[in-house]
């Protein structure tokens, strides 16, 4: 309709732009929420997420030149179940600042931002100019899952960062004209995938995606890449196994074979789709377009592999974080797909193009609404929450759309994301003071209290449970110590010890006090009077 064009097209274009900017503004607000949460956690000196303390212990052991994969049958019954890279990256900080969660949480925050930056770069390079690149990067940070695990002293986001960088580096290798440059890309991609794998085992999904993509594009290169990964990765693996007298194999591989609950995996898959569906649908439509019409990109192969591995979230000890690689892949693929879709809209046929012009920003706006999360009791978000009449449904005044209005969430979803308060700080200080006052060692389910009180960190409970579940743990010495009431105090949070240990605690120690920190109850047990020395 040529007569309509002068009037209608500028209006449509302005509308599209306005909606795109509105979506950008909305998703940018989530970056502010993320940074507020990160700043809050970096300043908090105690455990927040279960397991953070033991990642710090790994860093401290490396900083002393010791392996964290140890025999759990002898005192202090400690072993890590993770690969080393994240902890090694934090070692210089440990030398400078000693035991502190601040630098690990800072590294996690930076890794999240770098991964988001890589997504922006990929969408800009492979999709084209415009606001879709920053929108895709911000969409990654806006995800409820990425938000709550990003700023933790955990290795997961560093793995996602290395994975994303590897995929972005390898994406266009075949279009590079000069062989020397191609070789450089090949080795850089391979090194980044190895880095991801030696940060966390779950990066296997990305390694398989890269191998499959390179095989599809050029089988010989795919085989070369696979051989390189197997030789170098396998070489490091063997070296670590021999250097730790088999503990590396036992603690990181054998102990990680856990019970699988398909209902938990399906619940988390459903939640992932419910939260990210506005981007998952365009990402999968673009994947189908590439599969049947165009050529498969590495992003499509990556999304499929990451989603399959996301289903491992049904394992005991796994959770929604297992979908974070799939979230990164979704953001890139949705961004690239939407960019190419916009570029192909028929400019001459305004009415045909109109739905597309409006649909894309509406998808990102819908996504922004679906992942809604913010602290409702912290400025400046409190006034926004009041304006939108948002009621908190998580601890410490957090609203998280991943939960029901009553605060329920599927099994495996991490019960975190809320800010810590001055009461939490006081509770942590009280716990450290109690631990410091106790004579002898303390058995604590979180490590920070013992670390800050200058005591030994005894055991990594979840690792004992992993090993026990696989029939690889006896625990004679620890059980004997419990029977002799060798520990002056026991602190439990979730009770993630093997059944035999919990039974020995119950028989020899009695509940003394409960201290609540970060919305979690820390139950303190002291030797039962009848047996107390």
């Amino acid at each position: 309709m040529p007569a309509e064009r002068p009037v209608f097209f500028p209006f449509l274009f302005r509308m599209h732009k306005a909606l795109m900017w509105a979506a950008l503004l909305l998703l940018f607000a989530y970056l502010l929420v993320f940074l507020t949460y990160a700043a809050n956690l970096i300043q908090f000196p105690f455990d927040y997420d279960q397991g953070e303390g033991f990642e710090l212990v790994d860093t401290l052991l490396f900083s002393q030149g010791r392996w964290p994969w140890q025999d759990v049958e002898t005192y202090p019954f400690y072993s890590s179940n993770y690969p080393p890279l994240f902890h090694l990256l934090a070692v210089p900080f440990a030398w400078l600042y000693g035991p502190s969660y601040a630098y690990g949480r800072l590294l996690g925050t930076l890794a999240t931002l770098v991964a988001a930056g890589a997504i922006v770069f990929a969408v800009r390079r492979d999709g084209g100019p415009g606001l879709l690149a920053p929108l895709s990067g911000l969409a990654f940070i806006a995800s409820n899952t990425i938000y709550h695990i990003g700023p933790l002293n955990r290795q997961h986001m560093s793995m996602v960062m290395f994975e994303t960088l590897a995929i972005v580096v390898l994406a266009n290798m075949e279009s590079v004209r000069y062989s020397r440059q191609r070789r450089r890309i090949f080795w850089a991609g391979l090194a980044l995938i190895l880095a991801a794998g030696y940060t966390k085992q779950l990066a296997l999904a990305t390694a398989l995606a890269a191998m499959a993509f390179l095989f599809i594009r050029r089988p010989l290169r795919g085989l070369q890449f696979s051989a390189g990964l197997a030789l170098i990765g396998g070489g490091i693996f063997l070296l670590l196994t021999f250097a730790t007298e088999g503990q590396w194999w036992l603690q990181t591989i054998s102990a990680n074979v856990n019970r699988y609950d398909p209902q938990q995996a399906l619940g988390l898959l459903q939640q992932w789709f419910g939260l990210h569906g506005f981007l998952v649908v365009p990402a999968f439509l673009y994947l189908l377009y590439e599969l049947y019409v165009d050529r498969l990109s590495i992003y499509s192969v990556w999304l499929v592999a990451a989603l399959v591995f996301g289903l491992l979230s049904g394992k005991w000890g796994a959770g929604d974080s297992y979908f974070s690689t799939a979230i990164a892949a979704t953001c890139i693929l949705a961004g690239v797909g939407c960019s190419r879709f916009l570029a192909r809209l028929p400019e001459g046929q305004i009415l045909r193009a109109a739905p597309g012009f409006l649909l894309i920003p509406l998808l990102f706006l819908g996504y922004g609404r679906a992942v809604l999360h913010l602290p409702t009791n912290t400025a400046p978000f409190d006034s926004l929450a009041a304006l939108m009449e948002i009621k908190p449904n998580a601890p410490n005044g957090l609203y998280d759309s991943a939960r029901s209005p009553a605060g329920d969430f599927p099994p495996g979803y991490a019960d975190i994301g809320h800010l810590t308060s001055s009461e939490d700080l006081r509770a942590g200080e009280e716990l450290v003071a109690i631990v410091r006052a106790v004579e002898g060692p303390v058995l604590s389910e979180d490590a920070s209290f013992a670390l800050l009180a200058g005591k030994d960190v005894v055991t990594n409970p979840t690792q004992l449970l992993n090993l026990a579940n696989n029939g690889l743990y006896r625990g004679d010495v620890l059980l004997e110590m419990l029977r002799e009431q060798a520990f002056g105090l026991i602190i439990l949070r979730a009770g993630f010890f093997p059944g035999t240990v919990l039974q020995a605690i119950d028989e020899n120690y009695g509940p003394a006090q409960v201290i609540t920190m970060n919305g979690f109850d820390y139950r303190l047990y002291r030797p039962r009077p009848a047996k107390a020395k």
Binding site: F215, I216, R217, R218, P219, L220, L223, Y260, P262, Q263, A265, L266, L291, Y292, R295, L296, V308, L311, G314
Partner: protein, 93 residues
């Protein structure tokens, strides 16, 4: 003329062809049909493997469990995607 004298040049010619074809095959991108074939084979093998768990592990009871059903669904989906790619011919995958 001995048989060997006739066949040798043909064999050498064949060897040369093989040398010419093989690297080219490995250097070429997979076609949609080839990818479809690989996926169909993988899906088929995966489905058989999932079902074989019941046959090999005689101590199991109760037929297909939820995790097995999930895996079987996945492998059948791979098989279907593979089959759907077969008619797309030699276009690069």
């Amino acid at each position: 003329m001995a048989v060997g004298e006739n066949t040798r040049p043909i064999l050498f010619q064949g060897h040369g062809l093989l040398r010419a074809i093989l690297p080219t095959m490995w250097e070429r991108p997979l076609s949609k049909r080839q990818l479809g074939l690989l996926l169909a084979l993988a899906g088929c093998a995966g489905s058989v493997a999932v079902l074989a768990i019941d046959i090999l592990d005689a101590g199991r009871e109760g037929g297909l469990g939820p995790a097995q059903s999930l895996a079987l669904g996945g492998t059948l989906l791979i098989l279907l995607v593979g089959l759907s790619l077969l008619p797309l011919g030699d276009r690069p995958a």
